[in-house]
Structure formats: structure tokens, C-alpha cells
Amino acid sequence: MSTNLQVAEQRRGDTPVLSLKGRMDATTSPDAEVQLTRLIEGGDRHIVVDLSELEYISSAGLRVLLAGLKRLKQCGGAMKLAALRPEIQKVFDIAGFNRLFAIYPTLEEALGGGQAG
């Protein structure tokens, strides 16, 4: 099990995809927040976050994702989350975040623009 978080960014067409790998807690979440803020301040309004390799998330990580979603919504944008592992999905369910975010089973589906699952 990892104790750190790796944040990677790629572009699929015009859409930035932020990939989070490892552990998102109070210590590591600021790294994701910095990247997310940079994308939004750089003008991106539709962001996909790939969580397929995220092993762990605490309320500190949830807070960063929610803050990003709030900022995007305020300027007419959106955030899509892709490929949550079952334990991550459970944390989202407990926190009621499953109703706040558009969540897709796979990255391709999130990029495809269909309805969230």
C-alpha cells in the first residue's frame, strides 16, 4: 500500500485528464489541489479525473474534489470522475458524493460524454 500520491496530467483532445494514483489524505491531497487549481485557472472548464489507480481517499481528498467541482460549476464547467475502485466508491456513497459527481465506470466512457452511471 502506498503512502504517497502521484498526480499525472494528459490531454485527450481538448479535455484534460488528471490521474490520481496512490493515497489521497490530508498530507498528499494538496498536490492534487495544486494541479486542479492550475487547470481551472488556466481556463479549463471540463475536467476528467481518472481514479482507477487511487487506492485510498479520506475526507481531505473528498474536500479537494468538491472544491474543484464547486469552482467549475460556478463558471459553467463540469468535472467527471472515472473508474472508482469499490472501496473508493463506498467512501463516496457514505459521504453522499455519489449524488454530487458525474461518475463513470471507465475513463473512455467519461471521455465519451455519455450519461454517468
Binding site: D25, A26, T27, S58, R63, L66, K73, A95
Partner: protein
């Protein structure tokens, strides 16, 4: 071994958060606790310790102690500090029904602890905040547990 306790005290700063959670998760794995439950206890301990680190003391001050006990029946973790007297269980559950705009940022940690653990208690004793939480061990073929140690 039917019962084992491990205890660690560190300065209450975020740099030590991983040391606290890894102490607990290592002990749980050594006792064959299923990964699903390791995840849940890890998260509850993380939330409780993060609260102590952020709010119990002035910046950079104080210590936090984590004591984890594994028995054949349950896992219990107690987190204690000498900071301001504060009962986290008195905090009301945030409203989880609102939309993105209404949703406050934060306030979820204690809700996660309550949801993930089977028993959570708080007491203030001898100048210490003591938050204890327990997870009952799952029985059956899928539990993957053994007491071979």
C-alpha cells in the same frame, strides 16, 4: 496469539500521519484482518488523527498517541491527546442531501468514522481527549483470519 496491543506517540503534525496509520494497518495485516476492514480502520484512524493534528493544539505543538489492540473478537483503536477539550461525537452530521452549491466543504471526517466503525466512544480523562473506536472481526471462510502467531 489471542491479543496484541501496539502503541505509538508522535508529534501532532501532518508529517507523522502516515506513521500513525501504518502502525495500525501493519498490526491488522499481521493478524490477517481482511483488506476491506483494514481500509475501513485505516480511514477512521486517519480522520481522527487528522482532526487532532489540525485542531487539538496550537501550530506545531503537542503529541498524539494511537493505541491499537487486536483480539479474536475485534479491533480497537484509541486516539488520545492533551489538547483542548473537544468531543468530536458532539458534532452534528452534515446535511448530505444538498446539491453542490449548498454542500459545505468539510465536516465529513466524524461522519465517516461513525459509518465505518461498529463502536465509537469519547471521554475526557486526566486532561486527555480519548476517542476509542472498534470494528468487530468478521467470521467465516472469507475472513481470511488465522491466529497462527
Amino acid at each position: 496469539m489471542s491479543r496484541e496491543t501496539r502503541r505509538i506517540t508522535v508529534p501532532a503534525t501532518l508529517e507523522h500521519l502516515a506513521t500513525l496509520t501504518v502502525t495500525v494497518t501493519d498490526l491488522l495485516r499481521e493478524h490477517g484482518i481482511p483488506e476491506k476492514n483494514v481500509f475501513e480502520v485505516d480511514l477512521a484512524v486517519d480522520e481522527a488523527c487528522t482532526n487532532v493534528i489540525r485542531y487539538a493544539y496550537g501550530a506545531g505543538q503537542g503529541e498524539v498517541t494511537v493505541e491499537c489492540t487486536v483480539t479474536p473478537d475485534e479491533v480497537e483503536v484509541c486516539i488520545s491527546d492533551h489538547g483542548h477539550r473537544f468531543d468530536p461525537l458532539a458534532v452534528e452530521t452534515p446535511d448530505l442531501t444538498g446539491g453542490v452549491e449548498d454542500r459545505p466543504i468539510g465536516g465529513l471526517g466524524v461522519h465517516l468514522i461513525r459509518s465505518l466503525m461498529d463502536r465509537v466512544t469519547y471521554e475526557y480523562r486526566e486532561g486527555k481527549n480519548i476517542l476509542c473506536m472498534a470494528k468487530v472481526r468478521e467470521r467465516g471462510a472469507n475472513a481470511g483470519e488465522s491466529d497462527h502467531l
